[in-house]
């Protein structure tokens, strides 16, 4: 028993002496290390290949995974590992001797600091595959402004959407930013819109596996998400819907609604004024805002006198479609003929007249000068 105590004591003294020995050479590491989350660990806890002094000039690579096995496995599966990013851990967590917990406001992985940390690589020098300046875009977005300007901890930073250690390329079905997973990723914060979206036709189609139906980012973008109350954003929405609904956008442009909108005024019907937004349903669904039975209410939001006859107006009439809109098509053809006929006849009349009377004037002048 006495021997055992003595042995333990000897080991303790030896270990203490070893720590003291590290700092006696590497004193510049002591300061940040004492403040770090790892302060209670020994140097050899990470530099486990150092067992004796003197040690080799270059110690072996530190393996964070010895303790952080789960995180290391996640990183190994991530897009960062696949891309061969060197020093995967310290690339984000910073100077290895001064690593802080992500709850610490000074940490490089603290919510308000994370965008800058990620932006170190994902910025001008490293735009994403489509060449967008995602860091700059994010900073100007509603999320980026909230996080970096207002210090709003609940607003989305990079990891809120992309995850932390196991960041996967969006084409990976497991990725949080994969098309099919985006609604639940955004919905983690935006529960209300998610519920509405899932009840709408877009959400239903995505849930059924349709990869072309829009998710949040198709309309709101990923890194340029703006306040939806601003006129600037609202003015862009018709073109956004029109990326898929090409025909409907074209026929919308034939309407008075579109004319007013094109002048830069938002107080006229845009797609979502009639169709709603997250819970859009086809007109065939009785719950749809544009179902026959609901049109008086929907149109009545702006047109106070809307009645049964009024709502038979066709907001997407196509004058080129003679089958569906015979009267409009006929009117269009008639007006084209009238315009070309009347103008053609009288422009010709005018040109002939101009030539003839110019000639007559020349003759009259010549006669005056030289009778």
């Amino acid at each position: 028993m006495r021997q055992l105590v003595l042995l333990s004591l000897a080991c303790l003294v030896r270990l203490c002496a070893a720590e003291l020995d590290c700092v006696s050479c590497h004193d510049e590491k002591a300061g940040p290390f004492q403040a770090s989350v790892h302060a209670t660990l020994k140097c050899t806890g990470c530099h486990s290949d150092i067992t004796a002094f003197p040690h080799p000039e270059n110690s072996g690579k530190v393996n964070c995974g010895t303790c952080h096995a789960d995180n290391a496995a996640d990183v190994a599966a991530s897009v960062h590992a696949k891309a061969g990013v060197p020093q995967a851990c310290i690339g984000c967590h910073g100077e290895p001797h001064g690593i802080l917990t992500s709850k610490d406001a000074a940490s490089s992985t603290y919510a308000t600091n994370l965008p800058r940390t990620c932006g170190t690589c994902h910025s001008k020098s490293f735009p994403d595959q489509r060449g967008k300046q995602i860091y700059a875009q994010y900073l100007d977005s509603i999320h980026g402004m909230a996080v970096t300007k207002q210090g709003l901890l609940v607003a989305a930073n990079c990891s809120s959407c992309h995850g932390t250690h196991k960041i996967l390329a969006s084409r990976d079905p497991q990725s949080r930013t994969n098309h099919a997973n985006i609604p639940s990723t955004c919905g983690a914060c935006h529960q209300g819109p998610l519920t509405a979206y899932r009840s709408g036709i877009h959400g239903q189609k995505v849930a059924a596996g349709n990869t072309r139906a829009p998710v949040c980012s198709d309309c709101h973008t990923a890194h340029q998400i703006a306040r939806v109350e601003t006129a600037e954003w609202q003015m862009k929405t018709t073109a956004t819907c029109g990326r898929c609904h090409v025909q409907q956008l074209r026929t919308y442009h034939d309407t008075f609604h579109a004319q007013v909108s094109a002048l830069g005024y938002v107080d006229t019907a845009h797609c979502w004024d009639c169709h709603g937004f997250h819970d859009i349903l086809p007109a065939s669904n009785p719950k749809s805002t544009v179902a026959r039975a609901n049109l008086i209410t929907t149109c009545g939001k702006c047109h106070s006198g809307a009645n049964r006859g009024f709502v038979t107006y066709e907001p997407h009439a196509d004058r080129h479609n003679a089958q569906a809109y015979p009267l409009l098509h006929f009117a269009s053809v008639f007006m084209n003929l009238l315009l070309s006929g009347v103008l053609g006849l009288f422009v010709l009349h005018t040109i002939l007249w101009l030539i003839r009377s110019t000639a007559e004037h020349r003759a009259a002048r010549a006669e005056r000068i030289n009778p």
């Binding site: 034939d254 094109a262 709502v311 107006y313 007006m335 007249w353």
Partner: protein, 276 residues
Amino acid sequence: MTAPAAAPYYRRFSLGQRYLHAVLLSTFLGLALTGLTLRFSAAHWAATFAHIVGGFAAIRFFHLFCAVLLTAAFLAHVGNLVYRIAAKRELDLLWGPNSMVPRWKDFVDFYRNLKYFLWLGPKPKFDRYAYWEKVDYWAVFWGMGIIGFSGYAMWFAPFFARVFPGSWLNVALLIHGEEAILAVAFIFSIHFFNGHLRPDSFPMDVTIFTGTQSEEEFKHRHPEEYGRLAHSGELEKLRREPPPLWLRNFARIFGTAAILTGFVLLALTVIAFWNE
């Protein structure tokens, strides 16, 4: 017949007709300016112009304001015609040389004028209203009906839709815009040329502003009417003092401004139509 003064002038248009034309051209320019801004709202000048005048609300106000004025002038004209025909029995408004109603001579004149244009015949002798003047008049009449009716249908759309199908509102916007383009193109090119810019009248015929024309102009432009009135002795009753200088200058400035405004609008219309 007393010896005529230096330059005899004869009345062609009444004060009412001159005011009618002035209101017509002012409101038409206002309607065209605001209407084309909406019709070609995708053109880059449209949003700029709308912004300058105070936005869509201002555009809408000016358009409706001019529309109401023009409607009032149109109804006053029609009311005046009905009164003169029905109550005062001025039946020469319905037929004959003083009427705007087309008659056989107009078709003959048109045919002869085409021959004259092609050096195939002499210049026809026009009466009080030449056929192209009647075309101008009825074009406005037709345009008033089409553009006015479709315009009021859209202004009071819910009321209109109580009587007619709502899908007619689609047709209303289409014909309102297309007929307006026809009116703009016609007035700002063909009417300007026929009435003002052709070599016989260049740069402008101010008769519609001053109400009078010189004897020389009268003989040259409406020889048939001049001969008829001279023969019957009615010519003397139409004799007036020459228009004062201020009136002629006012007419030239007002008319030039209108023509230049019209040309700008015509150019913008043609460019926007081309780009559609």
